[in-house]
């Protein structure tokens, strides 16, 4: 009995110590470092709209449906950054095929041209802020048409945003949809 | 260096081996097969089967499938040929397993019976306390009874000679035709029931009761009913039972999972899958392997008191072997004459021969042989003239006093030295270095003298048995440490140890030394095996993990050890160890084979089970089996007939070669692991072709 009591006491002491350090001290150290050195990203990489509000986060996709904007990848959570998620559709399922066919129809491509796959597939979190550069270039004609500007100009802006995040180890060049769209608005109006 | 004189193996060894082989029945002797076949049906009783979890599950599967078949017959369901075949093959699987065990048991019994027949019921002359004699039979003898056995009579039961000495013919037990001497009070006092006294009369105290002799115990070990599972067999049984449980789970889950896909899988098919997956091959042969191990020990003329002892023999790390008779030929032989400076070698040879006429021991005779080789025609012939001084253990001298007063002597250094001094001679300073140098080489120096003059040294060498060095090299490849036990002095012992290539030696060994050595090895975690015959070996035999007593030895020694060697052959230990290792390897190899088989069976059955409901699974039928039913049956039939096919391996044991652990493992993995994966692919395909030809399924 005495042994059990001692054991419980030891357990409780270890619980208290680890709880204090892991959930307390550790969080405060990281929080302090983050807020001190990288306050912008530490608070969510938010982009100010110049009127005291935010237009979104550099890291998160947000919805665009108008023709004058670059469209992001489809989102299974409709770009809701407070309840995120993927489609979880099987790559063999009819549901996926139907959804992708719908997306293709939205882009309204002519027969014979091929769309980059990323434009019509949903990301894991539903908030992938990027599309491939190739996928962006497919959209420049539409954007230029809607904005009534020269397609080459749009293409220039889009290309300026292209980057290869993993250098030689990564995949295709990608662009950040929100940043491109903000740039488009800034430069073309 | 003592030279190795080519000497023939002791006579009769070859004959003994061939007799042993003759006693070992042919693998599928009709009589035994018939007995085993009958027995395998008797063994279907569930309360007997439950001892073997794998086969018990198989039997239950067979019974359940039979039930389904009965219902199907009533309803007149289709697919009857298929269901009937499944049921038949399931029952066959159980019968094959029983047959394997029954056959191994029958062989062991047959072998033991041959031994037992020799001792049937014999007449015994029992001496009462009042010294009167009554005539009774061997069945009535109790422990402690004293019987008289005269020439021409059969010794009624195991016992110990308490008075007299006799020549005994033990060929019935050992297969050795040369009679042996059994006498009271020595280390050769043990007699075995069923052997025949050839000369003289001995008084024997009976040491075992009816049904308690080593032979009876051995017979019990090969009889299934009383057989206890050995520790390793038990561990393997547990492992196999666990695997069976796991596959029960796998098969049990497939039923409900099939429901998700809208597939109802018939019970016989599920049972077929279950029986194919559980390790029936090893489950069926496990008992046979153990029994056959005992049987092999028995055919090596070793009576083990328990199966555990045979199994444990495979684990032995240290082997204590007596030098004499095991490592060396036993008798020392004269190999050289070393005359002192200024002495004519011919004189020394002649003197040595003359002095040896009084020494009838093998040593003495070998001096005569060597002398004749050296002197040829000039060699002295034995003559009646003069006074022979016979060799005795007390004087350690032998010699010849010629009528002309010349006194020849030869013998142990100090004894001859004393004689020379008595004769008024003196010891030349060159003698001691010469004696030492001979002793250092592992030989025994014998000094020869003529009157007061020392002539020189005769070198007696222990002659190694032919091939013994190779044998020890094999043992050390197996990881065994060989320790030579000898009464020689450390110098001699070291020299012989080096020649024979043993790892260590105990010189001037007393029984206490042996006991202490065994204990020391055991403290280091080593398992020790030894062989002994004398009463004073008993403590060491009892202490050793494997103690093999010689049949010729005393009762105390036989009681202390856990095996008795009927041949009283000191090299038998090595054989016993190999039998133990072979037993374990056979278990491991067949277990591996059994499990590896499952891969192919899966590829046959799983697509067949679901292909009707999920036709897209067809590409999984990699073997191209004709129909789903034929696929399932082929796997099931393969699973059944592999059991009788492997019976020879189970009973004879896998080929054992004395290699290091790594090489053994690599070989066995290749044969039984890789072979176990590949063989059933071929076998199942073949059966499928045959079944396809019948066009029933």
């Amino acid at each position: 009995m005495k042994n059990l009591f001692e054991q419980c006491l030891a357990s409780l002491r270890v619980v208290a110590a680890t709880l204090a350090v892991c959930s307390g001290l550790y969080v405060l150290v990281i929080l302090g470092a983050a807020q001190l050195f990288t306050p912008h990203t530490a608070n969510g990489s938010l982009i100010e709209d110049g009127k005291g509000g935010y237009v979104g986060s550099e890291l998160l996709a947000t919805g665009f449906t108008r023709p004058e904007y670059l469209w992001p990848r489809p989102s299974a959570c409709n770009y809701d950054a407070s309840a995120t998620g993927g489609s979880n559709l099987s790559p063999t399922s009819d549901a996926l095929r139907e959804r992708v066919q719908g997306s293709i129809a939205q882009y309204g491509v002519e027969a014979g041209t091929l769309l980059p796959t990323d434009l019509v597939t949903a990301s894991g979190g539903g908030l992938d802020p990027h599309i491939t550069l190739q996928g962006a270039l497919v959209q420049t004609a539409r954007i230029a048409g809607a904005r009534g500007v020269d397609a080459a100009k749009v293409e220039g802006i889009v290309r300026a945003h292209g980057s290869r995040p993993g250098w030689i180890l990564g995949g295709d060049p990608i662009v950040n949809v929100l940043l491109v769209n903000l740039d488009l608005d800034k430069r073309l109006r | 260096m003592s030279q190795t004189i080519p000497i023939q193996e002791p006579s009769g060894t070859e004959a003994k081996l061939s007799r042993r082989k003759a006693r070992q029945a042919a693998l599928f002797e009709p009589d035994l097969v018939w007995t085993a076949a009958k027995q395998s049906i008797v063994m279907l009783k569930p309360w007997l089967m439950v001892r073997n979890p794998v086969m018990f599950v198989t039997e239950v599967s067979a019974a359940l499938s039979t039930l389904v078949l009965a219902l199907d017959l009533q309803r007149g369901a289709e697919n009857l040929p298929y269901t009937v075949t499944v049921v038949v093959v399931l029952w066959l699987t159980v019968l094959f397993a029983n047959f394997a065990e029954a056959l191994a048991e029958a062989r062991g019994k047959a072998q033991a019976e041959t031994l037992r027949r020799t001792r049937g019921t014999t007449v015994a002359r029992r001496r009462r306390d009042d010294a009167s004699i009554d005539i009774t039979t061997s069945d009535d003898l109790r422990i402690g009874d004293v019987v008289l056995v005269a020439a021409g009579e059969v010794i009624p039961s195991d016992g110990e000679v308490i008075a007299g000495a006799a020549m005994v013919d033990e060929s019935a037990i050992t297969g050795e035709s040369a009679p042996v001497v059994r006498e009271a009070g020595g280390d050769r006092s043990g007699v075995t029931g069923g052997t025949r006294v050839l000369s003289d009369e001995i008084t024997v105290r009976i040491t075992t009761g009816v049904g308690e002799s080593f032979l009876d115990r051995m017979i019990a070990l090969v009889e299934g009913a009383v057989r206890q599972k050995t520790p390793n067999e038990l561990a393997l049984t547990v492992t196999l039972a666990g695997m069976t449980l796991a596959f029960l789970l796998v098969t049990g889950a497939i039923g409900p999972m099939g429901r998700y896909f809208g597939v109802e899988i018939p019970l016989p098919t599920l049972m077929a899958l279950l029986v194919c997956l559980i390790p029936t091959t090893i489950g069926a042969l496990l008992a046979a392997i153990g029994l056959a191990g005992m049987d092999r020990a028995l055919s090596a003329n070793v009576l083990a008191k328990s199966g555990k002892a045979v199994e444990l023999a495979g684990d032995v790390d240290t082997l204590l072997l007596d030098k004499t008779g095991t490592i060396t030929m036993g008798d020392r032989q004269a190999t050289a004459f070393h005359p002192l400076p200024g002495i004519d070698p011919a004189l020394l040879a002649e003197a040595a021969m003359l002095a040896s006429f009084g020494d009838p021991t093998p040593e003495g005779k070998s001096i005569l042989v060597l002398g004749e080789q050296l002197l040829g025609a000039r060699a002295p012939r034995e003559r009646t003239g003069g006074e022979l001084i016979a060799f005795s253990a007390h004087t350690r001298l032998s010699g010849l006093n010629l009528p002309d007063g010349r006194k020849y002597r030869k013998g142990a250094g100090d004894a001859v030295r004393r004689f020379v001094l008595e004769q008024g001679g003196e010891i030349p300073p060159a003698l001691q270095p010469m004696v030492d140098s001979v002793a250092r080489q592992g030989a025994t120096p014998i000094v020869a003298a003529l009157g007061g003059e020392v002539l020189g040294v005769i070198e007696l060498s222990d002659v190694l048995k032919p091939g013994i060095r190779d044998r020890f090299e094999r043992l050390s490849a197996m990881g065994l440490r060989v320790v030579m036990v000898t009464g020689d002095n450390p110098l001699t012992a070291a020299a012989i140890a080096a020649q024979a290539g043993v790892d260590d030696y105990i010189a001037e060994a007393t029984p206490e030394d042996k006991l202490e050595y065994i204990r020391r090895e055991q403290r280091g975690g080593r398992l020790v095996a030894m062989m002994g015959d004398g009463t004073n070996d008993a403590p060491a035999l009892a202490q050793a993990d494997i103690g093999v007593a010689m049949s010729s030895g005393t009762q105390a020694a036989k009681e202390a050890g856990n095996m008795v060697d009927l041949d009283s052959d000191p090299t038998k230990l090595i054989e016993v160890i190999e039998i133990g290792k072979q037993l374990l390897i056979t278990r491991g190899a067949l277990t591996t084979f059994s499990i590896a088989n499952d891969v192919a069976k899966y590829f046959a059955i799983i697509p067949a089970m679901f292909v009707l409901a999920l036709p897209r699974l067809a590409p999984l039928n990699v073997m191209g089996l004709s129909t789903p039913q034929s696929a399932i049956l082929s796997a099931l039939i393969f699973n059944a007939i592999i059991i009788p096919i492997l019976i020879p391996i189970a009973i004879k044991g896998v080929t054992y070669r004395p290699l290091g652990a790594d090489a053994l493992l690599r070989n066995n993995l290749l044969i039984y692991g890789l072979g176990g994966i590949l063989a059933p692919f071929a076998g199942i395909k073949l059966i499928d072709l045959v079944l396809g030809a019948t066009q029933i399924f």
Binding site: S11, V14, A17, T18, V21, C22, I30, A34, F37, T41, N43, Y54, V55, G56, S57, L59, L60, Y79, D80, A83, T84, G86, S87, N88, P91, T92, I104, T113, P116, T117, S123, G124, G125, Q134, G166, G171, N181 | P231, T239, G242, M243, L249, V250, G252, I254, M257, F261, L312, D315, D317, G525, R526, Q582, A589, I595, Y602, L617, G660, L665, R666
Partner: protein, 552 residues
């Protein structure tokens, strides 16, 4: 280039594991002279006596009971507690049970979505705390096992081990990784959700929080529970290509290091190297398999007007195309369970890799427990291979006999029992059938995956399965608890039993466990046992789906 990426990550992690293992061994099992430096820490728990395996297990269970109680209370009461800027409400009791069991057992199966249900206090206090101490429990158990196998009947003190593992191993590593994530752009804030309005005027509520600290220990402790629902696919949890590499390596490095630590404590580094090699080979096979099959486009999209590409559904562009299958292999080879792509959207045969990872559950495996699982296969491998060299099998000089085999087989049976039994039950009843997201074979795989994940204490899922129901919460909760503690206690019992035996000397007749040949034996036992038990369900699920989807 994709191959270079995969090799760089795997090889880099393996290299890093060597110094990490050396460090862990020095901290967990310091040499006699070095003890004074770490012994300050031990005083926290009071006087600490050396324990035998039974006492050790008792302390382990008692401490875990306290972990369970504290967490259950804090989660049940979250609506009354502070640090709840977004006002999260009460959590349903069966979900509280499931979540508590899940984090206590180092599983982190999440039947909730973090940003929807959990307050910051719930995330940081019970959940993140458990991510430290449950991982420390695993490391401690492995240390006890290793000490037993080194021949000690007294195998250390649980409290001392758990304190050292938490403060000296996990905490420093977590601080490093958290700072790297902060530098890589992960949020670390206690402010509530922000509201943004897009150029098109769409209002977006952006959930955020103390993400960097949480994600660091989630990866290092083979926990895997995400701060957000979609785990490390969420850009806040995994903002860039570089953070993805950092997190991917963090998943594996300490599990790999555990093997080296095992080798150092038992004093058998060569044996550890053989185990490491067998595990690494298996891992490489799985990665290769996953990368190969995931490089094919989604079958449902064939003949649509799309540029040929690998399967993109459920993947993030910033990580590159092979990062998903690589991570999927890593996260299930260990018992981590975090994801950077959606497993339910993996191609069928690529999805078989995570399943196989959880079925085998010892290609490095969970912190400490992966090596403990491998110990069971070692015992079985040694037993059968040992027979084949003609001796009573022995492991590290101790004889393996009936008692050890009985226990080892029992422990190995637990895993298929829960996976196959659970799947059979749920696949044939509305409990499971009514909750699947995709129809047919994929739906079956969803159920299978959920039970595999719970039994392997992994925590990943074929998400989309409606698993936040009372039957799912209770069934997987129980499975997680039993599948956690039975395979810790039984191996310790075996090791304790071995430790009490007399060692046998090693001769050339002894089966050597430090040779490549033995590595093959081990690999064979793992693959054969795994394949034989799980082949039928693999065929019914992923293989059937793959074959059905082949273009006709």
């Amino acid at each position: 280039m994709n191959i270079v990426f995969v090799i760089a990550v795997v090889a880099g992690t393996a290299l890093l594991s060597w110094p990490a293992g050396k460090y862990m061994a020095a901290m967990m099992h310091p040499a006699a002279g070095a003890k004074s430096r770490v012994s300050q820490l031990d005083r926290i728990a009071g006087k600490l006596a050396e324990q035998d395996w039974k006492q050790y297990c008792f302390s382990l269970l008692l401490f875990n009971a306290f972990m369970f109680t504290v967490t259950f209370l804090l989660l049940s009461l979250q609506q009354y507690l502070p640090l709840n800027p977004d006002g999260k409400g009460a959590i349903e009791p069966s979900l509280v049970f499931n979540t508590t069991a899940s984090f206590v057992t180092n599983t982190n199966l999440q039947h909730y979505s973090g940003e929807v249900s959990m307050s910051y206090l719930s995330q940081l206090c019970p959940l993140m705390w458990l991510q430290f101490v449950s991982a420390a429990t695993g490391i401690a158990a492995l240390c006890a096992l290793a000490r037993c196998l080194a021949g000690n009947v007294r195998c250390g003190n649980f409290y001392r081990d758990v304190l050292r593992a938490t403060f000296l191993v996990l905490l420093p590593a977590a601080i490093i990784v958290a700072l790297l994530l902060v530098a890589g752009g992960a949020p670390m804030t206690l402010q509530g959700a922000a509201t943004a309005s897009s150029p098109e005027g769409v209002v977006q509520t952006i959930a955020r929080g103390p993400v960097a600290a949480f994600v660091a220990i989630k990866q290092l402790g083979t926990n895997g529970g995400g701060f957000f629902g979609p785990n490390s696919t969420h850009p806040f949890e995994n903002p860039s290509f570089l953070t993805n590499i950092v997190e991917c390596m963090s998943i594996m490095v300490l599990s790999m290091a555990c093997v080296w630590m095992f080798g150092r404590i038992t004093g058998r580094l060569r044996h550890a190297a053989v185990i490491f090699g067998a595990m690494a080979l298996l891992l490489t096979l799985k990665i290769g398999f996953a990368v190969y099959f995931e490089s094919a486009p989604a079958a449902a999209l064939h003949d649509l007007p799309l540029v040929a590409s690998s399967n993109m559904e459920g993947k993030e562009l910033r990580f590159g195309s092979t990062a998903g299958p690589l991570w999927a292999a890593f996260t299930t080879a260990t018992s981590n369970g975090s994801v950077n792509s959606m497993h339910n959207s993996l191609n069928p045969l690529a999805g078989l890799v995570p399943l196989a990872g959880m079925w085998l559950n010892e290609t490095f495996g969970g912190l400490g427990v992966g090596m403990i699982n491998m110990f069971l296969y070692l015992i079985v491998g040694v037993f059968i291979a040992g027979l084949m060299v003609g001796r009573t099998p022995e492991y590290l000089t101790r004889k393996v006999e009936t008692r050890e085999m009985k226990l080892a087989i029992l422990a190995l049976l637990v895993h298929p029992l829960f996976i196959l039994g659970g799947t059979a039950l749920f696949a044939s009843t509305p409990w499971g059938m009514g909750t699947i997201k995709n129809p047919g074979a994929r739906g079956f795989t969803e159920i299978l995956y959920e039970f595999s994940s719970a039994a392997a204490n992994n925590g990943s899922g074929y998400e989309g399965l409606g698993d936040n129901s009372a039957p799912w919460n209770i069934a997987t909760g129980l499975v997680m608890l039993l599948a956690r503690f039975i395979p810790i206690i039984i191996p310790l019992a075996i090791a304790g039993s071995l430790a009490a035996k007399k060692p046998t000397p090693v001769t050339t007749g002894t089966l050597r466990v430090d040779t490549p040949l033995f590595g093959m034996v081990l690999l064979g036992s793992v693959i054969l046992i795994g394949a034989l038990l799980f082949l039928p369900v693999a065929v019914l699920g992923p293989v059937a789906e793959h074959l059905a989807a082949l273009p006709r």
